[in-house]
């Protein structure tokens, strides 16, 4: 049954996947096992995107399917039972109010096993710094769509480092981000799509595949 669910997720059968997950849980299936299967399936969706077989529409739908199944499964998983591979503070930087890219990334990062603390959009520099102080994340993810976000990212990264918070690795993401922007802002990694972003987050954490 779980194999079938895996295939339905990878094949983007939203209705089929969600109803099968429901049936599995109703029959007393293990919610944690279900979640693991969903995670594996989401990783395959990400791979297909990176290979050019899938596009943003499939990432969006994959995220929706995952959210739909999580809603069913999460109440049945005991606190602390699901192991996390890392903690991340995530937000869209100051002066940029866009959330679509951040939200797609978040769905895939959670699916990959990250605990994501989403601090929203148009996030002031100080709020990023405070969130890092408070949550002590392994990673900080910054998103932007508009070009003004480039300098906001630079300022935010500088402020985090100046506050002595040099532990977390910083990854930047968004449509206008590239290698040049990474160098300019002082980030540790960059991605312009969610699949690559999650892969790099795992690499930054030293997690396999």
């Amino acid at each position: 049954m779980l194999d079938e669910l895996f295939n339905k997720i990878v094949d983007m059968d939203e209705e089929g996947a969600v109803s099968l997950a429901k049936e599995y849980l109703e029959k007393g299936g293990d919610a944690q096992k279900l979640l693991d299967v969903c995670r594996d399936a989401m990783a395959v969706v990400g791979d297909k995107f990176e290979k050019g077989e899938y596009f943003l529409s499939e990432l969006l739908l994959g995220g929706e399917i995952f959210k739909g199944i999580m809603e069913l499964a999460l109440p049945m998983i005991k606190e602390g039972e699901g192991k996390k591979i890392g903690k991340m503070v995530l937000g869209t930087v100051k002066e940029d109010i866009h959330n679509i890219g951040k939200d797609i990334f978040k769905a895939f990062a959670e699916a990959a096993g990250f605990e994501v603390i989403d601090i929203g959009v148009d996030v002031p520099v100080e709020k990023f710094v405070d969130a890092v102080k408070e949550n002590k994340p392994d990673l900080v993810g910054m998103s932007c769509l508009i070009t003004a976000g480039i300098s906001s990212m630079k300022k935010t990264i500088e402020a985090i480092k100046q506050a002595g918070l040099t532990e977390p690795k910083i990854i930047i993401g968004g449509g206008r981000v590239d290698e040049e922007v990474k160098e300019f802002t002082g980030a540790d990694a960059w991605a312009d799509d969610a699949a690559k972003g999650v892969r790099l987050c795992k690499e930054l954490m030293g997690v396999e595949g």
Partner: protein, 407 residues
Amino acid sequence: MCAKSPDELAKERLARIEAARNLEEPDRVPLSGIGGDIIPAYAGITQHEFCYDYDKAIKAIEKYLRDFPSDMPGGGFSGLDGRAFCIAFSEFPDLSPAFTLVSGPLHDALGDKYYRYPGREIDENASPQFIGGTFMQPEEYDQLIEDPVGFIAETILPRACTNLETKRKAMATWVRVGMEISKAGPAYAELGKILAELGYPSMPMGWGYAPMDIIGDFLRGISNAVLDVRRYPDKVKKAIDALTEPVIQYSLATVQGGAKIAMFPLHLNEYLSPKLYNEFYWPSLKKVIMRFYEEGVKSQVFFEGHHEPHLETILELPKGWGVAYFEKTDVVKAKEVLQGHTCIMGGIPMSLLVSGTPQEIDDFIKDLLKKMKPGGGFILAAGVNVAPANTPPENIHALIEAVEKYG
């Protein structure tokens, strides 16, 4: 060397641009000016002032264009896509073009939820931003299909604009909107005069839009529109079909003053697989482009993001249909596919202008133009023409000099 008169400069620039658009090799590769947040920043005014005060905006644009000349001005007044309003007014060709770009003052008058303007919802120095939203439920596709103009005008806009919520409020709002539009007229005329003094050719611009983007940008929101393609494919397809004729009506209204080129900003192209693009997005977009073509108007389509997977579809258009403006698509690769068929525009990553050195920019442009210049049909432009406020001016000078040297 004698300085050229504005008229001479304008003629030279026009010939250069037209040669490129007509797939010929001009005297040098034309440069489309760099614009964006740097324009108010360079004049020392806030984004809010730039968006709300025509006099200050005109002075800022003039100062910027004087110091950073190019073949096509990179700067103009601020405005964000207002195509839902254009569709609502599509039966009135004298009015529909006025809503193509919604300015800060129009945003205030409408009280809409589509935009965020500096000094209003966001910081006075932030860029104006389009946020869109979900103003239509999936059950309402049938109403949209049945009467797209009526549904947008009478159901969607009152939801999307607080100042159109009731008929009484709407009466006052449309009067205020009309007053604002009539203020913009003289400002545009004044800007036109300054552009002529600076040697820019008069090039009236028309506007087009991809019908499916109306659904993503103004009705269902981007994410929902993309998901709807999977969840309600037949409804989405019918809705796109229903929207196509109003989009064409509006688009033709924008060129009734004699414009020979029409700009298309695209939004959902990058989201879709080739299969979905060809099934949902492209056929109606192609129809709008072809209507312009039949009227003797070229289209300049901004293919946002990565358009590589869909490049071949451009060849379905007749040779010389217009200009493909690319953001992240590699223009050198695009040239291999499109040379002799489509004028290509783009090539400069904004990140290079923001964080590179003048020498790096010189090297980059030299290398790029070596590949792109032969055979013509190329307009050099920034992939996304929004230079951030802190873009080093020396980098833009370096770009302008490099084009003179290697173009």
